[in-house]
């Protein structure tokens, strides 16, 4: 039942985007997120869409694959859209009994939905083209200056990458535990919050016991392989900028400036 989850998955391919340094992609994603909120009219959105289409083409990830990830949140989008549509005060365009659609409402609903879709597709491109390890490496290096303030950057990055490795294992384990308890007559489909919460106990207790057991096993295994913190560690895949990466920074910054210009001028 958990096989269909695609959010946050890596899509292996050989593209410019896959090759880029993860730090560039992190930076690019942040700039892109800002740009979504800078954009506000038809021209700036058109420019944003153009940029996104270009990126998608560059990523060599099939568009249909990206859209698959959207499927899970369609309901969320619809609800958010409907709320904006009907709940925003303004000049009434259409009235259905007590419900009215105002001009501002319509604009907000369209804008909001567009922003959500742009946001999800944009960020998923990063996870689709970057392996979890590259991502944590990128984060670790980007956040390295924070170590001055005693932020345990290395440890946080390591925790993230271990979490990413163990999520599929624990998901599978959850499935097995559920089956084992269902075989003893446990009912995970019962109605009502209290009964539902009670039904979760036979699932959660073995899951937590197992997770703690795995954690202590893993700690021992890491120690046995000479792990002693980030100090004195070398890197198998150190990050370094290539020409493409520097060029990408230029492209990303020019994109944001252009978008701001379009927003102000047009």
């Amino acid at each position: 039942m958990f096989r269909e989850i695609t959010i946050g998955q890596y899509y292996p391919a050989d593209s410019l985007l896959h090759r880029l340094d993860p730090r560039v992609k992190l930076f690019g994603t942040i700039i892109y997120l800002i740009s979504i909120f800078v954009a506000g009219d038809i021209f700036s959105f058109a420019f944003l869409a153009l940029f996104l289409v270009m990126i998608i083409r560059l990523s060599k990830v099939p568009f249909s694959y990206m859209v698959k990830g959207l499927r899970g949140i369609v309901l969320l989008l619809v609800i958010a859209g409907v709320f904006n549509l009907f709940m925003t005060p303004g000049q009434a365009l259409v009235e259905f009994g007590p419900l009215t659609i105002s001009d501002v409402g319509l604009k907000n609903a369209v804008l909001m939905t567009a922003r959500m879709i742009f946001l999800i597709i944009g960020t998923s491109i990063m996870t689709l083209t970057t392996t979890p390890n590259q991502l944590t490496d990128g984060l670790e290096t980007s956040l390295a200056p924070l170590t001055i303030f005693n932020v345990p950057v290395h440890e946080i990055a390591l925790m993230m990458s271990i979490a990413l490795r163990f999520i599929p294992i624990l998901v599978e384990e959850t499935d097995k535990i559920m089956k084992a308890q269902m075989a003893r007559g446990a009912d995970f489909e019962s109605k009502g919050i209290v009964r539902k919460a009670k039904a979760m106990v036979p699932l959660l207790v073995p899951l937590f016991v197992s997770a703690f057991r795995r954690a202590s096993d893993l700690a021992l295994a890491m120690e046995a392989r000479c792990y002693h913190g980030g100090e004195g560690r070398t890197k198998m895949k150190p990050l370094h900028y290539e020409k493409e990466d520097r060029l990408s920074y230029v492209v990303i910054i020019s994109y944001l400036i252009l978008l701001i210009v379009i927003r102000i001028v047009l």
């Binding site: 308890q181 075989a183 016991v209």
Partner: protein, 284 residues
Amino acid sequence: MSLILDKVSYKYSTGTAYEVTALDNVSLEIKDGQFIGIIGHTGSGKSTLIQHLNGLLKATEGVIYYNGQDIYDKDYDLKELRTQVGMVFQYPEHQLFETTVFEDVKFGPKNQGLDDKEATLRAYEALRSVGFPEDYYDQSPFDLSGGQKRRAAIAGVLAMKPAVLILDEPTAGLDPKGRDEILGLIKKMHEKSGNTIILVSHSMEDVANYVDRIIVMNDAKVYMDGTPKEVFSQAKDLEEIGLAVPEVTYFMMELKAKGYDVDVAATTVEEAKREILKLKGINA
């Protein structure tokens, strides 16, 4: 009273490039009171097969009948089926969760809707029948040894009084003595209750000593189905799918190949010993 599988197939990820056929057109009849071993490699479909027997997985094609009733009928009570066809999974850690062993064993009966008194009686009975030491009834199930955890898990299913008991790799991770104890226990339970028992295992030698019917799974299909003697007499076919017969059976076949008159169907050390002594003219 029996379990019948009629042309059962199970596929997942259908319609995608990753479509997998985990069961392919399997038809079987499991009669009351049989002691059955299901053998196969990891990925042969044996786990998928047993999860169909208590309705945890639903066949994508085909029908399963329990006591003549189609378990996929709209108003068929699957929860009731699961108390009739009890299943103990490979790792006891996946089911033990209560603060004490005793409470844990009561979980099944309580789900059946029995009152506390009845559930307590059931728990006593089940723990006694698996030979679980009384001193440990109030222990946390997490502090037990591997063998004791296994017993507690089996008791947890037995307490529901199932007519069919399925055990998935009940000896995984146990040491030789622990393995013999659990298998001996299962055999004793079978003899005493006469219930149907289905044992899933990788190990031919484990199964040969205990069961009266072996189902060999390979590549999502039933590859062989017969008594241990019938199955082991086809050593070549078993090797073709990477399974081996017990060492002593190989030895009997080698003797036979050298022209000695022995029964190649000897599958246990005891039987092989008898055959060789006979050959030597000694009556054991």
